[in-house]
């Protein structure tokens, strides 16, 4: 049973407050990803859950016990660090069994747990090696093995994949997901990579500047970003933002004077608006918003087009192949329910919030 309840947590270093009152409830067995740009406080929050940082104000409750002043070793948590932090003087077996030996668990039990974890992670043949004789991916696995043998209430991951190369990262990502589905241990996972967060987590918590900007399932965040920040952060390639001034309710005049029709019922009374469109939601057609193609990048399964629309760069992702050429003027349309409208302050207008989700062809 591993729930984590974070209640109005604050953290200050001297006079600088880096977490401004964060509250978050994590259910038993849930996989929660904390994601945000560097300096947003996500790692600090994770380290506070681990007990590696003091709490300035608020409470952290793990499995119904307030742990504010409980030492890390008594919280029954396991953590995987970005640099793995394997003990260099111990072989893999001793690394994985270290925590159990600290708890004076009987030797046969330690052995069976280590063997079991090694089997799950495919480390059986590496048990007698020292960390320095392992590859990056193997070290990463040992770090996870060290966490698994503990059978803790909560797994904490601090950017565990960012030291791996791209290919290995994708592989380890699915291994972590598989592991979670198998063990069903409550997991808090910190990353700056939104793809990692989206693919792994049951719930993604987007942090920015020491507060939670938005939380929800990956698709909720994708479909209903609650702010321009989240809209820009979630999704790859990122959402396009086109700025302009509202004229007569359903038209927006762009900077160079071009007026485009925005097919939504209400643009609100705002004079200035930002239209947000994800690259994959643009469609090429004969009439629509005009844009001049500057770069065409085919990848086989899809084609990414970079174009200029009244001086602003927009990225368009077309499934399959297309025959547009640089310099060509194309016309773009967007299904009305996939248009996001943000007002001056960056928060979505009424339209974007109440918009129903429809299947996108």
């Amino acid at each position: 049973m591993g729930t984590v309840d974070i209640r109005n947590i604050r953290k200050s270093y001297g006079n600088v407050e880096v977490l401004h009152g964060v509250s978050l409830h994590i259910r038993d067995g849930e996989f929660v990803a904390l994601v945000g740009p560097s300096g947003c406080g996500k790692s600090t929050l994770l380290r506070m859950i681990a007990g590696l940082e003091d709490i300035t104000a608020g409470d952290i409750v793990i499995s119904d016990r307030v742990v504010n002043h409980v030492a890390p070793k008594d919280r029954n948590i396991a953590m995987v660090f970005q640099n793995y932090a394997l003990y260099p003087h111990m072989n893999v077996r001793d690394n994985m069994g270290f925590a159990l030996r600290q708890r004076r668990m009987p030797k046969p039990e330690i052995e069976s747990r280590v063997d079991n974890a090694a089997r799950i992670l495919g480390l059986e043949r590496l048990l007698d090696r020292k960390p320095r004789a392992l590859s990056g991916g193997q070290r990463q696995r040992v770090a996870m093995g060290r966490a698994i043998v503990r059978e803790p209430n909560v797994f904490l991951f601090d950017e565990p994949l960012s030291n791996l190369d791209a290919k290995l990262r994708v592989q380890m990502r699915s291994e972590i997901k598989e592991l979670h589905q198998r063990l069903k241990t409550t997991t808090v996972y910190v990353t700056h990579d939104q793809i990692e967060a989206m693919t792994l987590a049951d719930r993604v918590v987007v942090m920015n500047g020491g507060v939670i900007e938005q939380q929800g399932s990956p698709l909720e965040l994708y479909d209903h970003p609650a702010s321009r920040f989240v809209a820009a952060f979630i999704g790859s390639p990122p959402m396009n933002f086109i700025e302009g001034t509202v004229v007569n309710g359903t038209h927006v005049r762009l900077e160079d004077g071009t007026t485009i029709h925005v097919p939504v019922t209400n643009l609100g009374g705002q004079a200035r608006v930002t239209i947000g469109v994800r690259p994959e939601h643009f469609e090429l057609s004969n009439a629509g918003w005009p844009a001049t193609v500057s770069v065409v990048e085919p990848t086989g399964s899809e084609t990414q087009i970079t174009a200029r629309m009244s001086g602003q760069i927009v990225r368009i992702l077309i499934r399959g192949r297309t025959f547009v050429r640089p310099g060509e003027v194309i016309h773009l349309t967007v299904p009305p329910d996939l248009i996001h409208i943000f007002d001056d302050s960056g928060t979505p207008s009424i339209h974007a919030i109440t918009r129903g989700i429809k299947q996108h062809a």
Binding site: A50, G51, L52, A71, P72, K73, R75, I77, A78, M79, F81, Q82, N83, A85, Y87, P88, H89, F98, A99, Q102, R103, R146, R150
Partner: protein, 286 residues
């Protein structure tokens, strides 16, 4: 043809550079080793052979100087004293200095940086300025001519040395090692002793060796703070060199000098593996 012409001088200049480096290396080594060689050679000469001109490289060796001075200069006891003092101050400094260095590297203490610099600055005071006050304090406490006095006196300059070396070593280790150990069930002390200490062993041993060598050859404090009972080898050498009645006895000087150097060389050879490994580890880890 042209390619050969252009590449040939470059290759020969590379070889020339290599030769220059080797010759320089050998020359520097000889330069440093020659006085030591001459000292050892002289220590085995009869008194009459020492000042012959031209100097004799071949002569009938004798150990009479050794035999005589072992008795007269009380070398045996002084050797034991030097070992006690060097080992004692080396070990004390490594224990205290390592812990202090760890605290400075890892624990958030208000003013820790200032504190560390102050400790280092204390080494800037010339030892001669400290020798007399130290003697007065030692006399006041009835501690003159005792091993513990020299051990404590040497620790005043060894601890800052160890502290700063070990501090930078600890700074080069990733902090996550201890954090991981603390999550795995250790207290901070447990993490220090079970994880950090074993990793630091090579660095620790090389620091210990350097400290003990510094203590081994120290003269000033030993001269001021000891008299007969706890007197060390360097004091004996100074005594022979400064013998104003009979003049410097070069045979004796070289014999005692050789006795001083030999244990250090043997010790250095024994721990050479640790020494090199320790230095390399400290440089590349983290």
């Amino acid at each position: 043809m042209t390619t050969v012409a252009t590449s040939a001088p470059r290759r020969s200049s590379g070889q020339l550079g290599r030769r220059v480096r080797i010759v320089t290396g050998v020359a520097v080594t000889l330069l440093f080793l020659f006085p030591v060689f001459w000292m050892v050679l002289t220590s085995f000469k009869h008194q009459v052979d020492i000042f012959t001109s031209p100097p004799k490289f071949f002569f009938t060796p004798t150990i009479s100087t050794y035999v005589e001075y072992f008795r007269r200069a009380d070398i045996e006891r002084r050797l034991i004293n030097t070992v006690i003092v060097a080992a004692g101050s080396g070990l004390l400094s490594i224990v205290v200095g390592t812990m202090a260095g760890y605290a400075l590297a890892r624990i958030r203490i208000r003013g820790a940086a200032t504190f560390g610099v102050l400790i280092l600055l204390s080494r800037g005071v010339p030892p001669i300025a400290l020798a007399v006050p130290m003697f007065l304090v030692a006399r006041q406490l009835g501690l003159t001519d005792k091993h513990i006095t020299l051990i404590l006196a040497y620790s005043t300059f060894l601890i800052p040395y160890v502290m700063w070396l070990m501090r930078s070593f600890f700074l080069s280790l990733p902090r996550e090692l201890e954090e991981s150990a603390m999550i795995d069930g250790c207290s901070r002390y447990g993490a220090f002793f079970k994880i950090i200490m074993p990793i630091s062993l090579p660095g620790l041993i090389s620091t210990l060796i350097f400290s003990m060598i510094l203590a081994w050859e120290e003269l000033l404090f030993a001269l001021v703070l000891t008299n007969r009972v706890a007197s060390t080898i360097p004091v004996a050498i100074a005594g022979i060199a400064g013998d104003t009645i009979n003049g410097a006895n070069w045979g004796a000087l070289t014999a005692v000098g050789t006795i001083t150097v030999v244990p250090v060389v043997i010790f250095a050879l024994l721990v050479q593996k640790w020494l090199i490994q320790g230095l390399a580890d400290g440089a590349t880890k983290g």
